[in-house]
């Protein structure tokens, strides 16, 4: 039992241990950290600005208990991807945008709005990204209750 290596994960646990609801180490290279949606910006900002993590992308999944959002950050020196997981409740899924300090988040948050209807508060550019202009409002293809509009 030696001294714990100084990795991004240990730094996050040290600084924000109180905000972390769960840590699941799938393997040495894949870790999942669950936080409350209100804590996502501060933890992600720390990972990006202080620890040099790169936001690969964000995944959104519609589940029975709300929409899960996963922010995947890559840390090359540790050979590790740390995913920040959170859940936003329906019927009005909302979360603070990371786009105010992280340009890499801008497009993916627009896409999550398009396909899942998640609203990102204070997003610098809240427009549609991938759906056609005549795609009806309020219809989100990746929601579980999605019904395809007329062709």
């Amino acid at each position: 039992m030696g001294m714990e290596e100084k990795t991004a994960l240990t730094a996050i646990k040290q600084k924000y241990g109180a905000l972390i609801k769960d840590v699941f180490e799938r393997s040495a290279r894949r870790v999942y950290v669950t936080v409350d949606k209100k804590d996502v910006p501060v933890v992600c900002r720390f990972m990006y600005e202080e620890l040099g993590g790169r936001l690969c992308t964000a995944s959104g999944i519609d589940t029975r208990s709300g929409i899960e959002i996963l922010y995947h950050f890559m840390f090359p020196p540790d050979k590790q991807i740390i995913t920040v997981k959170t859940k936003v409740p329906k019927p009005s899924p909302e979360i603070e945008s990371l786009g105010t300090f992280l340009p890499a988040a801008i497009w993916i948050e627009r896409e999550l709005y398009d396909i899942l209807g998640v609203v990102f508060r204070n997003h610098p550019d809240p427009r549609r990204l991938i759906m056609a202009d005549d795609w009806p409002d309020g219809v989100y293809p990746l929601r579980r209750d999605f019904k395809e509009p007329e062709r």
Binding site: A132, D133, W135, P141, F146, E148, R151
Partner: protein, 143 residues
């Protein structure tokens, strides 16, 4: 044979339309210009506007975003024109058939605009350049 038809057979002017393809068909189409295949020696010329085209080389499946643009483009193409559906996506949409964002297939869309349209099918994913040349030759022989 009318003058236009004779012109088409001797030196077809081709306009390439990429709908929403994965680009493999487009790359194989561009390959036709390169030294190994070199279709320009057959008089086949790639043009920059559909108004000058005798042949539309269409690749990819149609999605909702592109549909109105394609309809507009087809109307603007000089007639008579032959539509070549290049690749499995243009033929039948393959696995994209069930997507919420695709419409088609291509021949149904074209026939709705122009019931007398001439459509040639070149299957493959992507079709090899040799297959495309064969498709063009067969079509021109049939015209």
């Amino acid at each position: 044979m009318s003058l236009t038809r004779w012109g088409l057979k001797k030196s077809p002017w081709v306009y390439h339309v990429a709908l929403s393809p994965c680009n493999n068909c487009d790359i194989e189409i561009l390959d036709l210009l390169t030294p190994r295949f070199d279709v320009e020696r057959f008089g086949i010329k790639l043009v920059g506007s559909p108004r000058h085209a005798d042949v539309l080389l269409v690749s990819g499946s149609i999605n909702r975003h592109v549909l109105p643009r394609f309809i507009e483009l087809y109307k603007q193409t000089a007639k008579p024109c032959v539509v070549f559906a290049i690749g499995s996506c243009a033929l039948s949409m393959t696995m994209f058939r069930d997507s919420y964002n695709t419409v088609g297939p291509l021949d149904k869309v074209v026939k709705e605009i122009d019931p007398n349209a001439i459509i040639v099918y070149v299957p493959g994913c992507p079709p090899k350049p040799e297959a495309m040349i064969l498709g063009v030759v067969k079509a021109l022989q049939a015209l």
